[in-house]
Symmetry: C2
Subunit: 468 residues, 2 copies
Amino acid sequence: MLTYSFTDIGSDSLYHHLYQCIRSDILSGKLASGEKLPSKRSFAKNLGVSNITVENAYAQLLAEGYISSVPKKGYYVREISGMIPSAGVNTENRPQQDISKKRCVADFVSNRINPEQFPFSIWAKLLRETLLNYHEELLEAPPWGGVLKLRHAISAHLKAFRNMDVSEEQIIIGAGTEYLYGLLIQLLGRDKVYAVENPGYHKIAQIYESNGVQCCFIPVGKTGMDVGELEKSACHVAHISPSHHFPTGIVTPVGARYELLGWATREEGRYIIEDDYDSEFRLVGKPIPTLQSIDRSERVIYMNTFTKTLASTIRISYMVLPGHLLEEFQKRLSFYSCTVSNFEQYTLARFIEEGYFEKHINRMRTYYRRIRDELVTAIRKSPLASCCEIAEEDAGLHFLLRMDTGLSDEELLHRAESAGIRLSALAQYYRNPAENVPRHTFIVNYSGFAGQEAANVVKMLAKCIFCG
Amino acid sequence: MLTYSFTDIGSDSLYHHLYQCIRSDILSGKLASGEKLPSKRSFAKNLGVSNITVENAYAQLLAEGYISSVPKKGYYVREISGMIPSAGVNTENRPQQDISKKRCVADFVSNRINPEQFPFSIWAKLLRETLLNYHEELLEAPPWGGVLKLRHAISAHLKAFRNMDVSEEQIIIGAGTEYLYGLLIQLLGRDKVYAVENPGYHKIAQIYESNGVQCCFIPVGKTGMDVGELEKSACHVAHISPSHHFPTGIVTPVGARYELLGWATREEGRYIIEDDYDSEFRLVGKPIPTLQSIDRSERVIYMNTFTKTLASTIRISYMVLPGHLLEEFQKRLSFYSCTVSNFEQYTLARFIEEGYFEKHINRMRTYYRRIRDELVTAIRKSPLASCCEIAEEDAGLHFLLRMDTGLSDEELLHRAESAGIRLSALAQYYRNPAENVPRHTFIVNYSGFAGQEAANVVKMLAKCIFCG
């Protein structure tokens, strides 16, 4: 039977790896046209993967026309000469994908969570109980802001964890922060100019631009978004992440937070969107109060998500609206149905209320601290120690590595990639990179780093910098 | 202990009813300030409702400041003199809510599904197995269009049920059609003018308007959206529901479908959004081919949802993009993460693949046919028979009742409401009701009609028309 190796596939998914292996064998002729592929079940058993992995790989090959399905018989390789690649296949990307597939030993770019860390058994138990006991509630359309029980649980969590006094009414649940940004544009208005951080998370600007509203890139200084530049701009709404800026890792100190609030209150119609996306993972020190909690003028919209703390594939996020915006939302936007399934809202509510969420966060924090410590220790003990500096390592799930090197960022990233190490450079997160963009600074996002020897990975990184 | 009655609460939810009862007793002084409320568990037991119902009611009272919570002791009535009503409480609405609460015996307006009809045990089984067997897949970010397994299942379902040849790549999953409309605006452009049906489902126009795009109300004639009027307008995109128009119930015949396609192909950049929202519930006759399946020019975007067929609180919908739009979507919008949880995508995929969805649809169709037949028979046997006409009763989940009466629509709706019967009038679904709007035509949406005697309800309706 066909056999493929699943070791060293890095950040590639199992089904995608399998799909690529089979496709490659079809394209090279190793699998001839008309040949029958193994049955899903036996193939999965042989490869040591789940049936669904094989099923997904076959589904994609089927969709792209590499194989055909004969009912009750199985899957066969199709004649592919002259086949037109379908919309989803970008064949130009293939060589690149193959490199990263073959060699990736450590991925410091993607935001995956190690599956071993998800609390499957507790989640399954709560879900089962919810399905058993909440028949009526599960099928009843929730209020527009989401299921009250979940909003109540979040409000209590925000009080305990962030010292925020927020009523459940103010909390609006949505299927991911990306969706909530779209609602905020409708709430605050398309005629507003939105300030985004530069450098910053590209997606935020993409969403504003895709929705046809003007956005303006404001530089991030030593304490977060530069208030002087913000004041000089024509912006009305500042979208910031003061508790842990991505990618610089800056935590905005209290003084600068008051300056930001000062900017917001100076003129009518100014607002701050406070994105608190990974504040739960602060590793040392006391938390700094959220802007929302020190705002006395109803200028701050607080946002957070469970996609970082629980799983990125459970799409539950929320925002906290100040009173007058809540009324405005109710008047103009409450016709929208809540986008998150009741089934998951009730399950998450119980997960929080019964203390599992807090335990999970604590466990994850310990887990991430260990990974960070291993990496930092390995770097300090390696030849890299003499020519690099580690920065912003105490908050969130990434730190910065500033290298003293003659290599260009591009060359260094390329060498690392060839050695199987996926990294990104700080400069990549700037809009219109200018001369004053910091070079030789790399982002080590360790949320998906698992199962590898930190010392080995660092050794390999050092080797590709010093030896090329 | 406090006791409230839960009979005749009509379409009001249990928790909201309980919340209103307690609030009313607090406002009237029947529950005095400082008084302790029963514990959630014993109160629930006493009332014969679930704990969560009491919990939700208490949560809302707490949020609105009517009661306070003392840790480890319980809930107490607060001193409310001079209390400022919080944002969520619209006290002006109260008397009206009280009327509908007290007397509602039949609700022909809301879209609720009878909880007894949801396949809880199968859904729970599939969800449990999914959680047990799909660890890696559940935590892996799906492609931007959604989980491949679900898209594959939908593609097979569309082939079997609607004779549509659609690859899984073309299917894009989203958390409700409302969310997908937002994506389509970004895909097709804000400079386009969107044609919506008049009369029609108000929410569609609300979404376009809330997103700041121009929309134009095109009259619905005997065969659906009037193509002549559409041609005269400046519209680029027609948003229609040809398989079952709401609220008229019109099914667009094949000839008119080709005319619509003709309009779309006559100029570059024209598109049709085909909303097939309840086609599964056609009760008699052969299905008419979807516009998507007869479109040869890539002008039709097909949409459907599981919120009607499964439950409105499981937020899963999808759209089918033609090839060139799919490429455009991939280029400009694939940065958005899929908004539906992987857990529910995999569960729904198996629900469809393993034949449960088809069985469920068949069962629901029989169930709805029986309810419709009971209502229609009851009307035909009642005094109403001589002065009303039933129309469009074979498709979807509602029919029309045209009354020969001297009463105004408002008066008739008011009388019905006083008798506890919630109805809506066709005229309410028109934008800027003009003189040619059909009067005396009422919409009987029977999807939430359950557990009542059709004959009694019809008798009451007749009584309030003839006797006032």
